[in-house]
Symmetry: C2
Subunit: 355 residues, 2 copies
């Protein structure tokens, strides 16, 4: 598959920083990237039992959270570092920043170190679309997009290409964010309208995507807004104390999650008792559980983001960067000739540098 894989030493690490990721997306095109990651996510979710899974480890502070998200199968270990700081935008920093590593399970050697801020937006949108293909009505054409920040364009493109959305209804408490999204989507084959409220945007929509950033128990969607047959793609409620849907919306719907132990703590379902029934998405993809059953059923994908999605994205990124010859080798760990002589690295021997 890779056309010109660079020569990598046995324990060498390829670094794909933000500039290389931008180059990669420009060369492949964003739609191809989203589709590629979505295909990888769907394939990996079908291998669900093969993964060593755990809820992510979160470190909460007054203004945000920093999380580590590890996962492994028999051959590869992956983790993502990701923060969530809603006030960051006031000081010119992204709300969400991320990077991650893919390592060999057999040796522990880190093989890929990559930016994951752009990549997280791609994989989150890809996951939302993979879920909506099973949970939204097949004739869905109109989507309300509530929260028009950094991730919104990626959601719009994923739903256009993978779900068939043609009309978007936008709302954000910050009108400048909606204007930015509308401008970015011009010429993309979408009928885009900015609305005056969440209720206006949601009215008549087939799919409602919420991707807001406040770290609060917000009620973006109320029961009065729900129409029969709607699918809710709830992306922004993703840590304790951070929700978007009124609990009655959840109670009146069939709710699907990524990894139940993590979603019980972080998802919108944190508002509900621990025995409220939910279905893990992989079971729907694998045919073990039904997705949407009829045209009037209300479905919710209570997405919080799971480590497996980042594993999939990192694997896709490793292959794609190698195929395009992007990235550079970095000495994150020693390429020692005598592994028992770490001390020797300091004395006499020239500094080892990966080829």
């Amino acid at each position: 598959m890779p056309a010109q894989r660079p020569a990598t030493p046995p324990s060498g690490t390829l670094f794909v920083g933000v500039p290389d990721m931008v180059r990669l997306v420009r060369r492949k095109g964003l739609p191809a990237c989203i589709a590629g990651v979505a295909a990888r996510i769907e394939a990996d979710f079908l291998r669900w039992p093969e993964f060593d899974k755990s809820a992510r480890v979160a470190s909460h502070s007054a203004d945000g959270v920093i999380e580590l998200m590890p996962i492994a199968d028999a051959t590869r270990f992956a983790f993502k570092y990701v923060n969530g700081h809603p006030k960051n935008t006031r000081s010119g920093l992204p709300t969400v920043m991320a990077f991650g590593v893919l390592a060999d399970v057999a040796t522990g050697a880190p093989r890929l170190l990559a930016e994951l801020t752009l990549t997280t937006a791609i994989r989150t949108a890809a996951t939302s679309a993979v879920a909506a293909r099973r949970l939204a009505r097949p004739d869905s054409r109109r989507m309300a997009l509530i929260g028009n920040g950094a991730q919104s364009e990626f959601q719009a493109m994923a739903f256009r290409d993978l779900v068939g959305i043609r009309e978007l209804r936008l709302f954000d408490t910050d009108p400048a964010a909606s204007a930015k999204l509308a401008a970015n989507l011009r010429g993309q084959g979408l009928d885009v309208r900015v609305c005056a409220s969440t209720a206006d945007a949601v009215r008549g929509a087939d799919i409602v995507t919420t991707v807001t950033a406040d770290k609060a128990l917000a009620t973006i969607v109320t029961p009065a807004m729900v129409e029969p047959g709607m699918h809710f793609n709830a992306v922004g409620g993703d840590c304790p104390g951070k929700t978007e849907l009124h609990r009655a919306v959840l109670e009146g719907a069939d709710v699907f999650v990524e990894f139940e132990p993590q979603s019980r703590v972080e998802g919108d379902i944190q508002q509900l008792p621990a025995d409220f029934p939910v279905t893990e998405l992989w079971r729907v993809l694998a045919g073990h559980a039904p997705g949407r059953r009829d045209a009037r059923q209300v479905t919710v994908f209570d997405s919080v983001g799971f480590a497996l999605e980042d594993y999939s994205a990192l694997c896709w990124l490793a292959e794609t960067a190698a195929a395009l010859g992007l990235g550079e080798h970095v000495d994150l760990v020693p390429q020692a000739t005598d592994p028992k002589n770490l001390f020797g690295l300091l004395h006499g021997a020239p500094v080892a540098v990966a080829a």
Copy 2:
């Protein structure tokens, strides 16, 4: 303190890879590095209650383990990635490889990405010495060093400079490892002798350091080897199923640990009931608990390596690299001008690169 701190953008990340870490150690000198990290570890252990602590997250496989070790105080979040794969040396890879990140808690921005393989050897030796200063007899001069692999020179230097050790008795199941250690220590002011067995090396020692690598319930030290007043610095038993001391050695000693919840699972004390009394090292350093009480007491530092030691090492590294002008800036996360317009990074705008 930093003489010439490079201009760092508000969310920029400094990368200190293996070659820069080697340069740093060569310029400061290894003894100064060990002493600097030890001072930082001791100061940070005195702030123990200020840290958000958790046991590390381990992913075990047939031949090894990959761990993530996060920790944070009110201003900085740190984590280390570290593996342990004893068979790696057969294929020319280090048993232990590590890297880590220091981030701002207020924004989540990663500020330092650093190699931590060399640094882990330094901080492990520094921690051992900090503990031995309180737990070994003050007149300790002779140390047995069992396990003569990658970390052994660092232990020898730390105990020479910070504890006053003048004689070393070496043993390793691999004679080449002992020969390498003895050669590396020539001219360092230490009386070094290679012994034929662990028992030979331990006989008459004031301090016994075990830093072996096998992932097994090994019995390196048996009760018959224990002499009154000995201090055991047990470094190599550091994950479930990996121990070095016979349980009777522990039962006959006063045992000190880093972070009890982690040590109960990973330390040599995993062989003992959960109510076997242990003392956390920070309580000794802070004067809340006694260390050594008399010259005949047998003490054990059942060290597994705790995230706070890496936090300390990363803070020291950030300051030292800045002071020496070492490291380079990498675009691990976007330096976006409009943080809500991640998509804009892909279209039209030139690729942002940290200054």
